[in-house]
């Protein structure tokens, strides 16, 4: 048994080494591999003293080709590497210049001219110009395009959603793109689109270097090359993505840190511990219940993103008994939104009455909504012929989302609430993918889901969730109201923002009367960062630029 004895000795030796090295101060917890005494000031530096910002999140990116994914963890990263023609303001969805310094819109809303910033280069050294913009848009619009990589399974679904389909579709709004000169590009539309400028600021439509498309082909999703403040360095799947400072960035003095590492730490509690022990600098996806702890603790700060979502209980409005408006209204009255907001979101949510979040243009505050009223609910049910109660299924989501951090418990509260008015709820559980699929096909009676904004425009909420044309895609309530559809269509094609706001308000009034869903809450997702992190501003879209973030030592 000599080998075993030898192995034992090796292990003991290793254990001694490890124990001997763990007696150092706290900075060692950050895995300070240079083994020096590691003053606190060095905690966030690499071995060569560079500022490294470590951002931890729950899941990995799907693709670093921004147009080919709709996933928020992807745009969080691509946003640092690639830029769009326009950008959103730091804290809101107000459109500000991006790669285009300025733009003009024709009176009929059909011509958009963008004036591009001069002297901008991609990370690979090639020039950014109008031709590059055209190449990118054509690649998304045309599945046959040489850089569309259709055969490799690339689909630019967000392009299709935001611009009414693809080249050749009747509903596709972009007729053609004209390169006027190197720094001027014109988009000609077939019909006006009220949120065209908002779309141009979305991170999905960020511009990739055409030379990189040529060089990497379908591998472009692992080798993003843009004009952003950070260059892509490496990607270890399910683990980390490393970016480094782009020295020739178009904005002087930015970015502030030398590199950024996006770490995947799937477990929320483990992520918080990593932050508290100084291994990471910023964490997204804090449990609302932990907000209080973070606020009370020294060395870490609590941040919130402004509400940009709705969590709701939807009705399949085409199934008995939910096809009766009285039943839907009764359920609306029977659910205690305030209690849910307080119990499940630790106060970081407000009860909802519309599908649209309050900060949005066109939010209708005059809609009264359905207050929590058990007696009213009972009498409405009696009116509908259900005075003896009924049985109903409620489908609950198997995953946590910012608008629904603990779906299971919310389902139980709803179940409890409804039992008080004589409705017996049985909770149905499904895996996430089949859940989404089956609710599209209408197998559900009541179901829970939510929606988060991506471009800050009301259309993204209103049409996606409630337009009759989207039944079977994002409209899972199967709600169809011609009057509402007409209002939404008008609002979509108008470029007068005041007029659009009025149209959305009207639509909300009608929707509230028809009650196709119970809007539960608009949540404010919470996150946390170390106190030495400065100039970090969480954006409602969930992806913010880290160019201005500094690590104060």
């Amino acid at each position: 048994m000599k080998p075993r004895f030898w192995l034992l000795m090796v292990f003991v030796a290793l254990a001694l080494v490890v124990v001997a090295c763990s007696g150092d101060d706290d900075s060692d917890a950050a895995g300070d591999s240079d083994g020096s005494t590691g003053e606190d000031t060095e905690a966030n530096s690499g071995s060569d003293g560079e500022d490294v910002l470590v951002f931890a999140r729950g899941g990995d990116s799907e693709s670093l080709d921004p147009g080919s994914t709709t996933d928020g963890e992807s745009s969080r990263v691509t946003r640092q590497v690639l830029e769009s023609l326009l950008d959103f303001d730091k804290e809101s969805f107000e459109v500000v210049p991006g790669l285009a310094e300025d733009w003009e819109v024709s009176d009929d809303g059909l011509n958009y001219t963008f004036y591009l910033e001069e002297g901008v280069t991609f990370h690979d050294g090639t020039d950014f110009n109008a031709e590059a913009v055209k190449t990118n848009f054509e690649r998304w619009a045309d599945p046959e395009h040489e850089y569309a990589f259709e055969e490799e399974g690339y689909v630019y679904s967000m392009y299709g959603t935001m611009f009414g389909g693809y080249q050749g579709d009747d509903s596709h709004v972009i007729e053609k793109i004209n390169v006027v000169n190197d720094h001027e590009i014109e988009f000609v539309l077939k019909q006006p689109l009220g949120y065209f400028l908002q779309n141009m600021a979305m991170s999905y439509f960020a511009i990739t270097s055409p030379a990189a498309l040529e060089e990497y082909g379908p591998q472009i999703n692992e080798n993003p090359v843009g004009t952003g403040p950070f260059k892509f360095e490496s990607w270890t799947k399910d683990d980390s993505i490393e970016l480094s400072k782009f020295e020739d960035y178009r904005k002087d003095g930015l970015p502030k840190v030398d590199s950024v590492v996006f770490e995947v730490i799937p477990d929320n509690a483990a992520r918080l511990i990593a932050l508290q022990s100084g291994e990471i600098d910023i964490m997204d996806g804090l449990n609302p219940d932990d907000a209080e702890t973070v606020e009370a603790e020294e060395g870490v700060e609590l941040y919130t993103r402004s509400e940009n979502n709705v969590g709701y209980v939807g009705f399949n409005t085409q199934k008995e008994p939910l096809n009766q408006v009285e039943v839907r209204r009764a359920i609306n009255h029977a659910i205690d939104r305030q209690a849910i907001a307080e119990a499940m979101y630790a106060g970081y949510a407000q009860p909802a009455k519309n599908p649209l979040p309050p900060s949005y243009m066109g939010y209708n505050d005059d809609v009264e909504g359905y207050e929590y009223d058990v007696e009213k609910a009972k009498s409405l049910l009696a009116e509908a012929g259900y005075e003896d109660g009924m049985e109903i299924e409620l489908w609950t989501m198997p995953v946590a989302r910012p608008y629904m951090p603990d779906p299971e418990t919310v389902a139980e509260i709803v179940q409890n609430n409804l039992s008080e008015v004589g409705i017996e709820v049985s909770i149905v559980r499904e895996e996430w993918a089949p859940y989404l699929e089956k609710t599209l096909q209408g197998e559900q009676e009541m179901f829970m889901l939510g929606w988060s904004g991506t471009n800050g425009d009301p259309d993204y909420f209103m049409s996606s969730l409630l337009h009759g044309d989207n039944v079977g895609s994002s409209n899972r309530t199967f709600y169809e109201n011609d009057e509402v559809d007409e209002l939404l269509n008008q609002a979509k094609t108008s470029i007068d923002q005041d007029e659009r706001a009025e149209l959305y308000k009207e639509a909300q009034t009608l929707i509230s009367e028809d009650a196709p869903m119970v809007p539960l809450v608009h949540s404010e997702p919470v996150l946390a960062a170390a106190s030495y992190v400065e100039n970090y501003v969480p954006h409602p879209s969930t992806s913010e630029s880290l160019a201005e973030v500094e690590l104060a030592n």
Partner: protein, 333 residues
């Protein structure tokens, strides 16, 4: 010995063929349309159909299976639907990560487990025996995620001794060569990094190794007790051998055979079952790779991941069987 080894290797072929059939079938029984999942909720019907066609999902199962096996034989594990990258290149670093973690977990489990078992048997009914077996009982029944979180809370957050997540200091990454980071840091002659990597291994190895450690301790104890009461040990004692020699030289050799079985089985279980530990400690291993793939209905990754894990399981069992006949030449098949 050689003939036996060859025979065992040949027997692998039908086993592996059966495994490919099983992984292929299981995956196609999972509900959910992969094209729909990939394209997202807003995809159009035609886009879904196009993608199904380009992915070959419209072909009959026998044809899909035939293509799958032919590719496998050429070392092609397929392409991930989600990342569009070669699975064989994606899975390698993860396999290394899982191997490294499993290796240290099993080393921990064997060293502590075997020695605790021996001492318990040696000092049967002593306070040590009592305590060790109590720990072993707690050890087998402890939920891994709870143990992991407690470790993180105490050793990372409160004491700040050990890192709470990952394989290395993310502010100062290692240039991978073999993707076994302990080895890589040694190859770079960067010993301070080796210490960093070892520190990252401590908590997850303990979390992962605790259950097998407890099982091994109990197994070793009962196996040792049995051997210690046998005639040949009495003879050795009668010849006046020291207690240490009796135990480590004469008794352990016979007692270790059933323990070896347990170690082999546990190693296989750990390889496949590291998902929880890998998730809590954000360890980028193969368990999480498959888990993520299941969420996305990434058929090729699920197939290949399960196949690779099953393959390793079979290989480890083979090694254990071969070790038996090496340790005890009386065992012949």
């Amino acid at each position: 010995m050689f003939a036996y080894t060859m025979r065992r290797l040949l027997m692998l072929i039908p086993v592996l063929a059966g495994m490919t059939l099983i992984t292929f079938s299981i995956v196609h029984l999972i509900p959910g349309n992969p094209a729909q999942v990939i394209l997202g909720e807003t995809a159009t019907e035609t886009a879904i159909q196009d993608l199904e066609e380009s992915m070959g999902l419209n072909e009959s199962y026998p044809i899909q299976y035939g293509v799958y096996v032919t590719d496998l034989l050429q070392g092609d594990l397929g392409t991930s639907l989600r990342s569009k990258a070669e699975i064989s290149t994606e899975i390698l670093p993860r396999l290394a990560a899982t191997f490294e973690l499993t290796f240290f977990a099993i080393i921990f489990a064997v060293i502590i487990g075997v020695n605790a078992g021996i001492i318990s048997a040696w000092k049967q009914n002593s306070w040590f025996d009592f305590l060790a077996m109590l720990f072993a009982l707690v050890g087998v029944s402890i939920p891994i995620f709870w143990l992991a979180l407690m470790e993180q809370w105490i050793f990372a957050q409160e004491l700040g001794w050990l890192p709470a997540y990952g394989r290395e200091n993310s502010r100062d990454p290692i240039e991978p060569i073999t993707y076994f980071y302990v080895l890589d840091s040694l190859l770079h002659l960067d010993f301070s990094r080796t210490i960093g990597v070892l520190k990252h291994l401590v908590l997850p190895s303990i979390a992962l190794g605790t259950i097998p450690m407890a099982i091994i301790a109990r197994m070793t104890r009962s196996s040792m007790l049995e051997v210690m009461h046998s005639d040949y040990i009495r003879t050795v004692r009668a010849k006046g051998a020291s207690q240490f020699l009796v135990i480590y030289k004469h008794a352990l050799k016979n007692a270790v055979i059933p323990v070896l079985t347990v170690i082999g089985l546990q190693t296989g279980v750990l390889l496949g079952g590291a998902i929880l530990t890998e998730t809590i400690f954000s360890w980028p291993g193969v368990g999480r790779y498959v888990y993520e793939a299941i969420n996305y209905r990434d058929y090729p990754v699920i197939q290949s991941g399960i196949l690779v894990i099953a393959f390793l399981f079979v290989i480890i069992n083979l090694i254990v069987d071969l070790l038996y006949s090496y340790i005890d030449p009386r065992i012949k098949y």
